[in-house]
């Protein structure tokens, strides 16, 4: 902890700089979103004329509302499937000794390391052939393959922390292995399950690469992809205000979630690092 006044001042300055660097783009986009369309390019940082026209505008276009529906649906389905599957996989990895365990972990890690851009091209072709192009499953499947390794790793760290005796106690108490898992292990790993769910949700919610490459219409296009395809009011106007407003709106759920579960996320990311 800083003790002298000078140290405090130094730290204060550094903190302010870091916070400003992180916040300026956010404030900027917010101020853009509140600008009146006619003053959007006036060069002022803060709006000279406040307006919510951009917000009301985007909710009247089906481009945005459909994209919002797609985003929420796809991210939620991905999260539920990933967390359910990862729970079971992580449990097996943490508890059981089976041949190929190391191989599975290595493979999972390799998948997580794999650059997504390299599979976008082949996936585009395959999806068009099999009819998954521009559909919800077409996005959910690649999201699962990239979020599952992360989910399995986080969860198995949590499961490892739970004393094995608890599960044995439950079995002696008359629980089937699945009951012991559901009634004793999962509730205890709840913070880990939450953390994993949030991380997966954020990943799916934020993805741009797959969304832009594997969708073409409102049927499956998510918000990040839809933003890039926003039309202007006329052919000759840039849709800057609408894009800014949409960007602010899609950020809100993430901010709320992170604020609520902040502690759990930190605990989740460091779980297994130090024995508590």
């Amino acid at each position: 902890m800083p003790s002298t006044g000078r140290e405090k001042a130094t730290w204060g300055v550094i903190n302010v700089v870091v916070i400003l660097a992180a916040l300026i783009p956010v404030v900027w986009i917010m101020s853009l979103s509140f600008k009146d369309p006619s003053t959007i390019a006036d060069g002022n940082f803060f709006p000279s004329k406040w307006s919510t026209e951009n917000y009301s505008g985007i909710f009247q276009t089906s481009e945005f509302t459909d994209a919002l529906r797609n985003s929420i649906g796809i991210a939620l389905i991905t999260t539920v499937i990933a967390v359910t599957v990862a729970c079971m996989a992580a449990y097996a990895i943490a508890r059981l000794n089976f041949p190929g365990k190391v191989l599975i972990l290595t493979a999972a890690l390799a998948v997580a390391m794999f650059p997504p851009i390299s599979i976008v091209g082949p996936l585009f072709n395959i999806w068009r052939e099999v009819g998954l192009y521009d559909t919800w499953p077409g996005l959910i499947i690649p999201y699962l393959s990239f979020s599952l390794p992360l989910a399995i790793y986080t969860l198995s760290a949590f499961f490892r922390e739970i004393p094995w005796e608890l599960e044995q106690a439950a079995q002696v108490d008359g629980a089937t292995p699945f009951q012991a898992f559901r009634k004793v292990i999962v509730p205890l790993a709840a913070p880990g399950v939450f953390t994993t769910a949030i991380l997966v949700f954020i990943f799916a919610w934020n993805d741009f690469l797959f969304a832009i490459s594997l969708t073409s219409t409102n049927a499956a296009r998510t918000v990040p992809a839809a933003l890039s395809a926003f039309p202007g009011e006329s052919q000759f106007t840039q849709p800057i205000g609408s894009v800014a407003a949409a960007a602010v709106i899609v950020t809100i759920p993430i901010i709320i979630m992170v604020l609520i579960f902040q502690r759990r996320i930190v605990a989740g990311l460091t779980a297994g690092a130090v024995k508590g």
Binding site: P163, E165, L166, Q168, A169, A170, Q171, V172, D173, G174, A175, T176, Q179, K183, V184, P187, L188
Partner: protein, 392 residues
């Protein structure tokens, strides 16, 4: 309530290590039996096989007359108390105790009633709504007991349930466990490495070493007639003193004097000839010669220089050295001694330490000669080659 029978039970791990070897043990209905032994002797593995938490490699396990080898733990109707209690941290004390009944779909009212009854017995009534994290060690231990007794199972299995408590609480809970078991009359298998717990708690005690059952019997039987040098060294505190001896005529020649052979010992020796022998003397069979009075003739007296004198209040422990005249080199014996946690048996020329328990009225003092008396009728004799007891 039911009897438990282990018939030729073996636990072999994939790497070939045998944790439990051909174990035969009958636990009659409502008996309190203790499995005791040094760490790694297979006692916990044996218990976990009864619980169903470990597979049985060979042999048959019967609970209440039925072979249960292939039954899952949940189908064996047994309750287990774990060393670290294994309480469910996300449930209250009441929920912890009622969990098994809830799984068995027992009526809610009945669960509440049974939990309340158990809580009353264990003095937990005012803690029923608290979480285990907010309880003291002793309270947690009682919850673990409570979780077992609400179920009214066929048997209790306890895996060193008191070893995480501090010394005072351990003694208190020991009495409590004994009282509860007596009242409920539930067959109980209790694992411990503490010979005091074994002696005080059990109807019978089974001593194990390296996966093999050494001796099963009433605590007093094990104390008075240990079958081999391992049981002799393991049961009793402080541990039995061992010294190499030889037999001349009708006497055992020990470093502290000649002790006449008992009839049984003489008979046992006749068959065997004279191999290397080890004498075992319990600390409590010594006494200050000045205090024995007319019993003096029953034993021998000798002089020893007291190195250390420990006062326990009600008794003194006097440590002195004896010089062994005989050499006994037996690999097995050394291992036994290590397992039993007793001092090594001294070989010829070496000084071995002996501990004697004396009355506090004794005038013995550290660094001074004292005249000690030994009750010769209590000297145990063992064959050094295999550790077996000679004579009754």
């Amino acid at each position: 309530m039911a009897e438990i029978a282990l018939e030729d039970i073996t636990k072999r791990y994939p790497d070939g290590f045998e944790a439990v070897k051909h174990m035969d043990l009958d636990v009659p209905d409502s008996e309190f039996i203790i499995l005791v032994g040094p760490s790694g002797c297979g006692k916990s593995t044996a218990l976990r096989m009864i619980a169903g938490l470990e597979d049985i490699t060979d042999g048959e396990l019967k609970i209440g007359g039925e072979v249960v080898n292939d039954r899952a733990p949940k189908d064996r109707d047994i309750a287990m108390v774990f060393q670290n209690y294994a309480l469910y941290p996300h449930m209250t004390v009441g929920e912890n105790m009622g969990f098994a009944l809830k799984l068995a779909h027992v009526d809610k009212q009945e669960i509440a009633q049974k939990v309340n009854e158990a809580a009353k017995t264990l003095d937990l009534t005012q803690h029923l709504d608290r979480k285990p994290a907010n309880l003291s060690g002793g309270q947690r231990q009682r919850v673990a007991m409570g979780r077992a007794i609400v179920r009214d199972p066929k048997a209790f299995l306890m895996d060193e349930p008191l070893s995480n408590l501090d010394a005072k609480l351990r003694v208190q809970m020991r009495t409590e466990v004994s009282r509860i078991q007596k009242r409920l009359g539930t067959t109980t298998v209790y694992v411990t490495h503490d010979q005091t717990e074994a002696m005080t708690l059990g109807d019978r005690v089974a001593v194990m070493r390296s996966g093999e059952l050494q001796q099963v019997g009433k605590p007093q039987e094990l104390y008075e007639h240990p079958r081999n040098i391992f049981v002799a060294g393991f049961i009793g505190s402080p541990a039995m003193n061992f010294m190499p001896v030889k037999v001349e005529g009708t006497n055992i020649v020990t470093p502290i004097g000649d002790v006449p052979l008992s009839d049984e010992q003489r008979r046992a020796l006749e068959g065997d000839g004279t191999g290397d022998l080890i004498a075992g003397i319990r600390p409590e069979d010594f006494e200050d010669a000045a205090l024995v009075g007319d019993q003096r003739d029953r034993g021998i007296t000798f002089n020893a220089r007291i190195d250390v004198l420990e006062s326990m209040g009600a008794e003194f422990y006097a440590y002195f050295s004896v010089e062994a005249q005989e050499t006994v080199s037996s690999q097995e014996l050394q291992e036994l001694a290590e397992d039993a946690g007793t001092a090594d048996v001294p070989s010829a020329g070496e000084a071995g330490q002996v501990v004697a328990r004396l009355e506090p009225a004794s005038k013995a003092a550290e660094g001074q000669e004292a005249e000690l008396w030994l009750d010769t009728s209590k000297v145990h004799l063992f064959d050094a080659s295999n550790g077996q007891r000679l004579g009754g």
